[in-house]
Symmetry: D2
Subunit: 304 residues, 4 copies
Amino acid sequence: MSYKEIFSGMAEELKSMKNSGTVAAYIPKLCEVDPDKFGAHLLTIDNQHFCFGDSNEKFSIQSIAKVLSLAMAFELEEDKLWERVGVEPSGISFNSLLQLEAGKGIPRNPLVNAGALVISDILVSSLKNPKRELIEFIRKASGNAEIAYSPAIVESEKLTGFKNAALINLMKSYGNIKNDIDTVLDFYFNLCSIEMTCKELAETFLFLAADGINPLSGIRIVDSSKAKRINAIMQLCGFYDEAGEFAFKVGLPGKSGVGGGIIAIHPDVYSIAVWSPKLNSKGNSYRGMKILEYLTTRTKSSIF
Amino acid sequence: MSYKEIFSGMAEELKSMKNSGTVAAYIPKLCEVDPDKFGAHLLTIDNQHFCFGDSNEKFSIQSIAKVLSLAMAFELEEDKLWERVGVEPSGISFNSLLQLEAGKGIPRNPLVNAGALVISDILVSSLKNPKRELIEFIRKASGNAEIAYSPAIVESEKLTGFKNAALINLMKSYGNIKNDIDTVLDFYFNLCSIEMTCKELAETFLFLAADGINPLSGIRIVDSSKAKRINAIMQLCGFYDEAGEFAFKVGLPGKSGVGGGIIAIHPDVYSIAVWSPKLNSKGNSYRGMKILEYLTTRTKSSIF
Amino acid sequence: MSYKEIFSGMAEELKSMKNSGTVAAYIPKLCEVDPDKFGAHLLTIDNQHFCFGDSNEKFSIQSIAKVLSLAMAFELEEDKLWERVGVEPSGISFNSLLQLEAGKGIPRNPLVNAGALVISDILVSSLKNPKRELIEFIRKASGNAEIAYSPAIVESEKLTGFKNAALINLMKSYGNIKNDIDTVLDFYFNLCSIEMTCKELAETFLFLAADGINPLSGIRIVDSSKAKRINAIMQLCGFYDEAGEFAFKVGLPGKSGVGGGIIAIHPDVYSIAVWSPKLNSKGNSYRGMKILEYLTTRTKSSIF
Amino acid sequence: MSYKEIFSGMAEELKSMKNSGTVAAYIPKLCEVDPDKFGAHLLTIDNQHFCFGDSNEKFSIQSIAKVLSLAMAFELEEDKLWERVGVEPSGISFNSLLQLEAGKGIPRNPLVNAGALVISDILVSSLKNPKRELIEFIRKASGNAEIAYSPAIVESEKLTGFKNAALINLMKSYGNIKNDIDTVLDFYFNLCSIEMTCKELAETFLFLAADGINPLSGIRIVDSSKAKRINAIMQLCGFYDEAGEFAFKVGLPGKSGVGGGIIAIHPDVYSIAVWSPKLNSKGNSYRGMKILEYLTTRTKSSIF
């Protein structure tokens, strides 16, 4: 089945599917979204676009942005950063302190909250103007100067971010946070506040399907070997305690966010962004997972 | 760099590498092996062979065989088997009872010991003559009628298999083992006792690089979608607590055994078997991991 | 309030109390008991008896017997046994393998299942005729030649003892079980099968209220310092994950069994046995706990 | 042996003992103490004093003060406080977040850090002028108007209290902290900063040996039943992961602090304070534990 046929059949496929799950409640701002929204956008490395539904509506990409901060830190710090964060799947729920304590303050990987906080700390140390330089890096990746933080989401996260405060204080007690806690948390909450449409998300991540270069602009974002390694980390760690399920059913590296977005990468072929706000019990978009399984099954586009 | 150049340069590459680690001690029979053995065999789906070192010497493939029992059970039981075993990485050491207890007797995945015991139980239930039918399935996959169990290894495992007895008794207490414990353990110890050369191992697993068909014999072993899913499980769960490291550095689905063997699959391209008995602290072949990283880096043959 | 008044008021007190909880289901034989049975027997060190209800009916004392095997092993082995088992509360449910694995095969204390299995292994090693010598030791403590194992309970335990088999195999894998597993399990299941009445139970344990001597017979069972230490272990470890609750509300060292029995010791004053088959969610007799709280509150006989 | 003989022989006993262990390093202020200090003071309920060594020198009582905040909150809140904190031993190291997460923000008991933070939160809610009223309660218990917080210790704790910040943020995320985090931490750090001599410590805690009344002043501090229950909690939870060891060897309820102090209570008889700064691997005073074992063994004054 061609991508075109898949996207033509998507309305039908969605009808056959219940919109199960619940919208993320822990950040008040996220609850306000219409739970029936659904968007999808596939972008090939040779610039073909396929889209469906609310694919041009902005949503909070949340944890998906952790891949972008990782890419920036990896490019800046080379391999030194792996002394402070691992590359192994966590095996348990996404903000557990258990493994962090067992690991003496070294997070399992850069895509769990603790790991993204360490990556944030690294960027705060390395950059002169951390928030501005991060958003510029993301704009460069996306080729879109409009990408921005959402101050309203930042405020909402700050009011309820006690688990993240627990994580960062615990890592600080082990010496794995170098900067002031409030500075790092502010950077991290900004990172998680970014809003994009499905189209923008697919464009921003296309460099990971193209050996580290944004093929639309021709600009290198990370080097080729690092792009592969970031994909490997997404494959193993991108879906909290459901990474195996996603690999088994979808078969692509990807990353989800509690805003209901998912980005997935078919190396050398395409990036795809989907958005549906209701989350399953593991915190991943219920319909997003389903529609990606439908797509890769019909197009046989798994990497395996 | 071509495969030919890689294999030509392998002797040089090995010289630059310490033979670190320790030979598996917990099965007395495994200790008797020469720790300096090293073999590698790459086989493309169009039947090109590249080999090096002790690639024609038999060794105990141990846990690598768990992929084969999974393939057989998956083909027999379709999706029902996933009610009794998960597809998520374990995140901790390979025989831990902790997660099994937390999971109420459902193992995290079919490649940890507990999961392979459940798969063994399923095969003991489904097959008339379980041990004979399993070895015949493996001979069919490999196209080699000589593949056999090693009675000496079976005996050695039985004398020291107390952790496996703990695992299976715990799962029995949760109702997730249906047959007599000693029957299932006997089947499992036979499964783990199989000996192959690197060449035989690469031949046996080539169907996973070729959509479920052994391309040399043309015989279908599992259907196409199942081959992809088995590869996905290997990618996420094939290296105990080092699955992320293997994905990050090597970038191929694979499975290791405590005998020092590793199989890795490049879908649509090749299978490769390496063997070096000394294990790193995570229980995976020290030089095997290194040489595969060297190979995929130089040939840029990661799936990511 | 005097003991006499307490026992006179017990019927009234029981009426005001629901008989909540559930009879232990995991051993089929235990399910057959009438859930409304209730017995209590208090015996002072100067041989005053106070009894109530079904105090002369036999019931399965189950884990309460672990204190007796501990007493025998402690007397035989002096302090060497503490190299193989700890004295700390477990903090979690009574048959968890988690802590055992974390402790590298050393159980937290001699009153959890794993610890009692190690004590059983020690007695199997030390005694010529382990089962006979154990029951003789218990008869000596009780001053009652009729105390006996229950073969029916032993058989029932053997059919369902998979968790205990898991525990002992795990400890064997760490080298902390010296004898054949089936021999130790047989000894352990016999230990747990003993039946007593409340009166017999209070008589058997009176030596722990009297510095190690059975004051009725004048026979020393353990030395004075050991009696104190066994009481200390009961205080901290006698009620699984409810040891704190029992200390807080009752304030005496004691031990419960899944048969619904509880023994408690007031050093220098009395022993008391109660029996009510329904267990609370932590596996301790629901009404047994309540009535002991009533007794020690009214008599102000806590040790604290 | 009489108390007088014990204290006369103490110098000799100390000579036979290595001063093993290490002074607490995590609070800079605590490191400055002379590691060879040793003091002991026993005070009977009929006002006999026995002392030894540096028993009139102030030291930081640290976590010992948690018993006093518990006593105040228990007296104020009756049983409602047990909805927010348990009474079970923790079974693991004293500031672990693991059990707190498993317990959904309910600490195991009021003497671990997390539990003392909840007690602090309760007092901050209940009292008009929390810090002043707490110190007045402690002065009332001790009969000594000079007892005071140490601002230098408070400052030192604040600079390094990242684990406590992690704990309190985690509990706040579960809704088990009602007040502003910084206010509660400030109260908690003040609580832990109190300095006393061994003599003052024994005087302050004597009410727990006398049914809740300070027998020297005749003032009731807590009611009788609560005094017993506080002793029970100390017995089970007063020594982190060494509560069993302390019960087994010393046999009295007690509480240790990382400043090297220990208080122990013999109900109806005496209180005793010892101080020796070097801590064993479990965080309890090395020589303090030894000397108390010596004392209760020789005087046979265990409660068991």
